[in-house]
């Protein structure tokens, strides 16, 4: 996983609350069993004109990500409950493939938030007024937990995972002894739970 330490990049603003993962990547855009190559499907229902055909889809000039001033954006600024709905991690993989490194929003769907952490994308929760006042180029420092001069909260485990680009499975397997001991004791206590 790509570590996230500091990042300065162009921000694109996506208005609206409750932007669900079906909007971030419609199911029909999930065409292969892979985490890669999903950027083309990002926001597909809004990013392309409705009557354009697959293969030569025409960008919708009104969609924020398509505007000339948004070219090369790496930071997404959104509303409330961003990434609610389906658990599909493809939503984050599509953002990563498109080049997004951080999502700043009023709040997040929980599964989406965790999926961001697992894939090196920093999710930051900020007040609406703070989000509105951010400049077009935004500087984020995860170590200091700041976006420009605003501080933000992040759980220490998630922070370390991002800063160091850690593999959570390897990290957890460091506790192999504790897991094995728990299983041994639990098998004795809850025999019915074992198949």
């Amino acid at each position: 996983m790509t570590p996230f330490t500091q990042h300065t990049g162009l921000a694109v603003r996506l208005p609206g609350d409750n932007v669900d993962t079906d909007q971030i990547i419609p199911s029909r855009e999930m065409k292969t069993v892979s985490k890669r190559g999903l950027g083309v499907g990002l926001f597909a229902a809004q990013r392309y004109l409705p009557d354009s055909q697959a293969g030569e889809r025409v960008p919708n000039p009104d969609f924020p990500l398509n505007r000339a001033e948004s070219a090369g954006a790496t930071v997404l600024i959104a509303g409330r409950n961003f990434g609610c709905g389906s658990s599909r991690e493809h939503a984050v993989w599509a953002l990563v493939d498109f080049g997004i490194r951080a999502v700043l929003a009023e709040s997040f769907g929980e599964i989406f938030y965790n999926n961001c952490i697992r894939n090196g994308v920093l999710p930051v929760q900020l007040e609406r007024a703070t989000l509105d006042a951010l400049p077009d180029r935004v500087s984020i420092d995860l170590k200091a937990q700041t976006v420009e001069d605003h501080s933000f909260d992040i759980a220490p485990g998630a922070k370390r995972m991002l800063l160091e680009g850690l593999d959570p499975v390897a990290l957890t397997l460091e506790h192999e002894d504790a897991i094995a001991a728990w299983e041994c004791a639990d098998r004795a206590a809850r025999g019915w739970a074992y198949v």
Binding site: K35, A45, S87, S107, N115, R118, I179
Partner: protein, 457 residues
């Protein structure tokens, strides 16, 4: 004083991590072909294997065709067959329990997991599917995760979690006749908002919940994610043990007795405190139907669409504001999904449809939640009721609940649906979904407009 959630949490706490997270043991993992395929492949690529493959189950539900004569690779999504074949191959290689397309056990994950007795009180269960909260109805701690976390759960037998906040929602009194768990949960979500239970473990309690059968409880818990809950849970009781007794994966013999003894301890202790508490008077809840593009945008069927529509609703929904809910004409009716496609749901719809016909111009589709539900319904003759009324009668799957490039309704069609999401384009490009109970779907199909079944009596 511990809550029900506290008890299951502490019984599964393997270690407190320096990060502030807890390492929680995972008893069961369920996968499906849409998001599980990539988890299985990625785990194999990393040279890892499931720690306890006998505790991992995978079903084919999301993009399988629901045509009655489907083959074992027919998908309803372009390129979808690859998800089916890749899942099958990876599942066999990993030695996990595979419930394949043509298995008599096939069905929607949150329907078959309870049906086969895989979800049980006091177990932890994860699945890369947001509606995993459904299974909390049995008193399991079951929650939805991403594919990477599914890999983690399989490879380590655990999840790393910060402990969520806790909310109790008490439904006092009884639901009125003709009012269902679906109406109750739509009412709750519309009252609390689409992020009303953000990151909370929600316990549903109260007289109306105790009075619900297991299938109604599954419907209630199913939609917890639609108001941003971490998950939902209901304390196990006689309804739960009666439901599980004799099911294939439920404990047997002495183990059953030991399990039931433990399950009886699984309730919130008197005096336990929650971070948030809400109470609702069940007797005041009416049949409820969504009107907007979020499940929180719902109103009593006797009520009206708000005069002032929130952003994005007018453009998508074709509504102007102020319409009577029961005046809205529909072009599609759908009964299916992990929310409302169990036997009791089909019975409720069939009771309305018996001796009636779907209105001209309404495309009506029924997709039972599992092949076992389909067989049980056919044994009662319900398939004939649906067919004679003008509904299609399909094989089981998630078809029509979300659009994957195949099954859908014509763009712009207003569809009354027993599903859980009315998001823009969820059931297909431009499809205008209104969420409702199976009985309301059936009554609306008959009249061609959103209709309270009481009107037809």
């Amino acid at each position: 004083m511990p809550t029900l959630f506290d008890k299951i949490w502490s019984d599964h706490a393997v270690a407190e991590l320096p990060s502030g997270e807890t390492l929680i043991a995972v008893d069961r993992v369920f996968l499906h072909e849409r998001t599980g395929s990539v988890a299985l492949e990625s785990m194999a690529e990393a040279g890892r294997a499931p720690r306890r493959p006998e505790t991992v189950f995978v079903t084919m539900d999301h993009i399988v065709s629901t045509e009655a004569d489907r083959s074992d690779t027919d998908a309803r999504s372009p390129g979808g067959d690859v998800f089916i074949t890749a899942t099958r191959k990876a599942a066999r290689a990993a030695g996990i329990n595979l419930i394949d397309v043509l298995s008599p056990d096939q069905g929607i994950v949150h329907v078959i997991s309870p049906e086969l007795g895989i979800a049980q009180p006091g177990l932890t269960l994860v699945c890369p599917d947001s509606h995993t909260c459904t299974q909390g109805a049995l008193g399991a701690l079951a929650w939805g995760i991403g594919s990477t976390d599914a890999e983690h759960a399989m490879a380590t037998g655990t999840m790393r979690l910060p402990k969520p906040a806790q909310m109790r929602i008490t439904l006092d009194g009884r639901l009125r006749s003709g009012v269902t768990a679906k109406d109750a949960v739509l009412h709750i979500i519309s009252s609390l908002g689409a992020d009303g239970a953000k990151r909370c473990a929600v316990e549903f309690a109260g007289e109306a919940v105790r009075a619900m059968d297991m299938e109604a409880r599954l419907t209630l818990c199913n939609m917890a994610v639609e108001f941003a809950a971490f998950t939902a849970i209901i304390a196990p009781d006689a309804v739960t043990t009666d439901y599980l007794r004799g099911r294939r994966h439920a404990p047997k013999g002495e183990q059953w007795d030991a399990a039931v003894q433990y399950w009886q301890t699984l309730q919130t202790d008197e005096g336990a405190s929650f971070d948030h508490e809400h109470r609702f008077d069940a007797g005041r809840i009416e049949p409820t139907v969504s009107w907007g593009i979020s499940p929180a945008q719902a109103a009593p069927i006797s009520g009206h669409v708000p005069h002032t529509l929130p952003d994005g609703v007018a453009d998508y929904s074709g509504l102007h504001g102020g319409e009577a809910m029961a005046s809205l004409p529909i072009g599609g009716a759908f009964i299916g999904s992990c929310t409302n496609a169990r036997l009791s749901d089909l019975r409720a719809a069939a009771a309305v449809l018996r001796g009636r016909r779907v209105a001209d111009g309404v495309e009506a589709i029924a997709v039972p939640g599992s092949m076992a539900v389909r067989r049980a319904a056919e044994a009662e003759g319900l398939d004939a009721v649906f067919r004679e009324a003008g509904f299609s009668w399909n094989a089981s799957g998630c078809a029509f609940c979300f659009y994957a490039g195949g099954d859908t309704f014509a763009p712009g069609t207003r569809v009354i649906s027993s599903t859980n999401r009315n998001f823009k384009n969820r059931q297909g490009p431009g499809v205008r979904t209104h969420l409702a109970s199976p009985a309301v779907v059936a009554a609306s199909a008959v009249t061609g407009r959103i209709t309270d079944p009481a009107e037809l009596q």
